[in-house]
Each structure stands twice: as C-alpha cells, then as structure tokens.
Symmetry: C2
C-alpha cells in the first residue's frame, strides 16, 4: 500500500460503503481500563444444569431429547414471532411496521465441552449441513424474506450458555446490514464485488489466513474488529444451499482452522459473534449476492483486554489500532490444526 | 400507535434511515448470561494516582496543572495526528486515504468524585461553554471538517479513568454516523427533520423525559439502546457555537436532569457513551443540520445486566426488548433534581 506505513488513515468497507479509521501508531497505548474476566476453560462433557445438554429440561418444562449430532429447536424466548400482526404507523416521521419472524437455536454438538474448533471435520460438516437445511426450510416459508445464521460465543459476547450453539433468526424483511451489503454488491461495476475482491486478496496475500480448494479466510482490508475475518467460497454462490458436498467440506475445514487459530492467539476460547450473509429469500433473484461469513471477535491484546466500540465508534466511525495486515500475520503464525 | 401493543415490530430511525427491531413481549426472558461488576461508588475528591486530577503527572512526565474549572489537553495517545500524510490507494476495491485529526481530553471538573449529574448548574454551564469553544477553535482550523464531542462513562463503556472527562476528536472528513444523519436531514421533505420531529414528540408526550424553555430530552421513537435519549434545542441551531447564553443554560439544565435520572434508575453511576452531532466544519453551509446529543447507555434491567449488541445486532439489525415508551415512562418516574 502506498500509505506511510504508520500514518493514521481511513479505509473504505466496499461491502457496506462505510469507513473505518486505522491508527497503526497507537499500539503503544497503555491500558488502564476494564479487565475482562477469563472463564475457567475446563468444562465437563455433560453438565446436568445445562438446558442444551441431551436429556435436560428447558424453560417451560420442555425436555431436550437425547441427540447425538446437531439439534435445532424454536427459541423459548424468541425476539420475533411467526404470527402476522396488523397495524403500523407512518406519518413520515414516526414509521413502524409489524415484523414476523422465527428464532431457532442450533446445538452444534451434544458435548458441552466442545467448540467449533474442537469438533471433528465430519461433525463440523454436519453443522454446515444443518445451517444449509435450516436456510432452505425457513427460506421456503412464503413470508420469510431473510435467514440470518449466527453464533454468539463467550459471555463477553452476550452468550448465556457455553454449550456449543448458534442461532437462526428468519425475518420478513431484509435487515440493515445485509441490505447495505446487497446494495453495494448490486451497484458494483463488474460481475461480482466479492469474486473480484477475493481475487485481489489472493494475489496480494498479505491478509489471507487460510485457504483450501474451495474456501478462503482472510482479514478484510476494511476490518473493524482487531482480528475480524471474512470467510468466503472461491466460486460464486449466493447461499449455503448452493454449496455442493466438496464445498461444504471446504467451508467446514476453514471454519475449524480459523477458530483454532483464534483459540491459540491468547490461550482462551476466543469470544466472537459470527454469522453468514446469504441471498435473501424474498422472491427476488439477487444474482450478485456472494455468500460469506463474518467473524467479529472483540479481543485486542490479551484474553482480558478487549476493543471497546464506544464513544467515537458509536457516534462517529469505527476505529482500530493494529492494521489488518499485522492481524493477519499474527493469525497465520499460529497453528491451525 | 396503531400496532398491537405487544407485537414485535420494527421502527425506522428517521435520522439514519436504518431500522430497529422491537420485541415488547420479550421482557419475561430470564438472564443467565454475563453479570457486570459494579464498581464501588465512593471516590475521593482527589486521587493521587489519577493523571487527570490537578497537579498530577500524566504519561510522558507531563504535569496536569492545578485547574479549578474545566481543563483541556491533547490526548497523549491520540488515535489521530495533525500531520498531513501522503499516499493512499484506490483501485475500486481497496480504498484507503490518509486522515488527519486532533484528539483532545476535556476534564469536566477538578473533583475526581463528581459526574455531570452531580455538578452545579454553573459548573455544567462551563462544560457546555468549553465544548462550544473547542468546537469553534478546532472547527476554525482549515483542514478540520468535523468536530466530534463525546464522553465514555464507566468501565463498561471503555472509559479507563473515572475522573469526570470527555473527549473531542476533530477529523478531516465527516465520519459515517454524522454523514448518514446529514444525508437524511438534507433529503427531508420539509424545512428541518428534527424541528418537525421535536414538534411531533412534544404534542404526543409519551417519549418526552425533560424539557425547559430551550431544551428537550426524549427517548427517540427509534431508540436502539434500552434507555437511549436524544437531547435537542427547541430552536433550529446547527452547532453548540450558535447557542446563546440562555440556551446554553437550558442545555446544562437538561444534561444534569437526564444524567441524574440515569443514576437513580439502577442506583449506580449509569454507564453510557454520549456525544453531540453538529454541523460539519468542512466549508459547506449545512443549513438543515440540527444540533443534538445522543446518550447510548447499555444497562437493561439492573446495574449488572446489560444489553449486548452482538450476533443479530452486529450482523443484521439492532434489537430491543422494552419499548421506547416504557423506557421514557420509567425515566420520568425518577427524580431529576
Ligand atoms: O481514548 P480512550 O478513553 O483510552 O479509549 C476509549 O475511547 C475511544 C474512543 O471512543 C475508543 O476508541 C477506545 O476503544 C475506548 O477504550
Ligand atoms: O438470544 P440470547 O442468546 O439470549 O441473547 C443474545 O443474542 C441476541 C441476538 O444477537 C441478542 O439480542 C442478545 O442481546 C444477546 O444477549
């Protein structure tokens, strides 16, 4: 890059059209703020008090069956409901609309002590298949316009249970973030923004973390979170449902690799939110949507010092200290197996 | 509003053009996740180890003078630097530009134990005057395009020191968030979006928290954070520098009131990020920009249970449980003096 290597600069997120401030000179800043607790790492394979462990009782007395692979159920405290509501308001200033949705929980494994990175390749592949099946079946419901697959991992990221699990929220309308990305992809002056971007990253190499025949993970040029990564297929696909068997294996492989690198970075189960952006299921074609996953991990310098997205970030613009290139380099230096 | 009162819905943030999901039925959800620490509330008036207390030594051996009102200095670990950098890159996919800036710290009071809500009206007025002076002097620098005044309060919001202080980051370019709001204000089909919005809120009344002759605080119809508020002048002003003496007193009064209500809500110094959005100083007129402050406090149910903006929120769209109307009512029920 043609910038003074240590000079503060901003980078454009081509997927959202928004900017991020980069302050490479600021890594010397001492930290006097909040220190996060590290949670004890040893968990039992089965926890009798965990409502996601096989055979245990959930809220409202429902019993979790004895499952041996993945297990999906409707969230007991869903933020959205499938019933159609009437009404709404729109006077040009106050605008509200009813919103239907379905919120599901996806247990990745019956084992309480596992994480994505600790699961076998076949087990990870089953998780990928489950996400794809859920995308297909939820997306097939006539009023479902968008399916958001995601995982919150770690108490720092609001996860209330360490049992390996993620969520799926299917909504009527396309939410803000995918809508922004779809608009940028649609406006792109070429066939596919992410196909071209991936080609540019592969030829540069400085931000690539892992790759196999079908899939690549990299720290995006416009990363906001310190060790943010973007995981994307080499071929142009819009949805998890479009991936063939070999591509699903490729995705499972890269997901395992990136999460193992994360866990080795500071020697703790690395907290993050991750999720997939796929083609909406709103009836339009969206031929330019390129399937991808974002990992947003908050840790900055150690297991206990995180990046806060606060004042300037909330009110003005995200800001980061270490460069995406140095984050990628640090991740690459760790083992991925 | 014409919605089923308990039905999930989405509301449009007219200032940014983005949506927020509202799940009023979800308040029964039990909390099993992270419990925040509450920091001991009793602080000394002077702390010999605090680098913001009068007479103490900062990073790099600089001495904080013995000040008796507000005190402003350049951040020792500034995220931005005033030197012009050369270079940049733009191949249509990788886009980066050098960014100049000035980062300042504003001590609100020499007293280590105070907060905005605990300061006298004249002392709060001095803080308002300091923000206005800084806006004027930073904005007068030819390359400064935008002045962001903000405060991170509480370790939960990344503040590394409890001494009452805020920050000001002046940048060359207009950051994402104000840029979005300015675009919505410019596109508004009327004279001023926020003048009309304020009139609608005052006539409805259900979201108004405090008001005086010149200033109003309210929970916006599109609030994202559980007890988010918007503070705005009744008259159309674009910047803190445009407020006359009576209006500055009005702002100081409302700031004191809203922060005292916050501190009483859960019986702790309420953590938040707050900041002002004002007219950019980029040489354009921005006649439609209406000055306002946003308060973004994370606490949801108690001093120890916060709202996490994670998975769905980061990847898709913000989601809230209690309605803005019930948040406003709870704030109004508390004392403001
Ligand atoms: O400058 P401080 O107070 O050290 O840092 C705090 O505020 C900054 C501006 O919002 C953020 O970038 C940091 O993440 C936060 O910890
Ligand atoms: O549904 P959970 O795991 O209880 O809740 C978690 O994830 C949700 C979706 O990102 C968020 O809205 C909550 O703030 C968070 O605590």
């Amino acid at each position: 890059m043609d910038l003074l290597p240590d000079a503060p600069h901003r980078r454009l997120n081509r997927l959202t059209g928004e900017w991020v401030l980069v302050s490479p000179h600021r890594t010397a800043r001492p930290w006097q703020g909040q220190i996060e607790e590290t949670t004890p790492e040893k968990r039992p394979e089965y926890d009798p008090s965990c409502y996601l462990c096989p055979g245990n009782t959930r809220a409202g007395g429902v019993k979790t069956p004895v499952y041996d692979s993945t297990y999906v159920f409707d969230n007991d405290f869903a933020a959205l409901l499938p019933d159609a509501a009437k009404g709404g308001v729109d006077d040009g200033l106050l605008v509200a609309r009813p919103e239907r949705g379905i919120c599901r929980v996806v247990c990745f494994s019956p084992r309480h002590d596992l994480t994505l990175g600790g699961m076998s390749q076949p087990a990870l592949r089953t998780v990928v298949d489950t996400w794809a099946e859920q995308t297909a079946s939820l997306g097939a419901i006539d009023w479902v316009g968008h399916v958001q697959v995601f995982e919150n991992r770690g108490s720092m990221m609001g996860a209330s249970n360490p049992h390996p699990h993620g969520q799926i929220w299917a909504t009527e309308s396309v939410p803000n973030e995918p809508a922004k990305e779809l608009a940028q992809q649609a406006a792109y002056d070429g066939d596919c923004l992410l196909c071209d971007y991936l080609a540019a990253e592969l030829s540069d190499g400085s931000r690539v973390v892992d790759s196999n025949e079908h899939y690549v993970s990299l720290v995006p040029f416009w990363a906001v979170w310190p060790f943010e990564t973007l995981v994307l297929p080499r071929s142009h696909h819009g949805s998890l449902t479009d991936l063939d068997g070999a591509e699903r294996d490729g995705l499972a492989d890269v997901l395992g690799k990136v999460t193992r690198r994360y866990d080795r970075l500071f020697g703790v189960t690395f907290p993050y939110s991750m999720g997939f952006h796929q083609r909406p299921t709103d009836g339009s074609e969206h031929p330019r949507a390129h399937l991808h996953a974002h990992f947003y991990p908050p840790l900055l310098r150690s297991a206990t010092v995180r990046k806060f997205m606060v004042g300037f970030e909330l009110l003005a613009q995200p800001q980061r200290d270490i460069t995406p290139e140095s984050a990628a380099q640090r991740l690459r230096e760790l083992d991925n197996d």
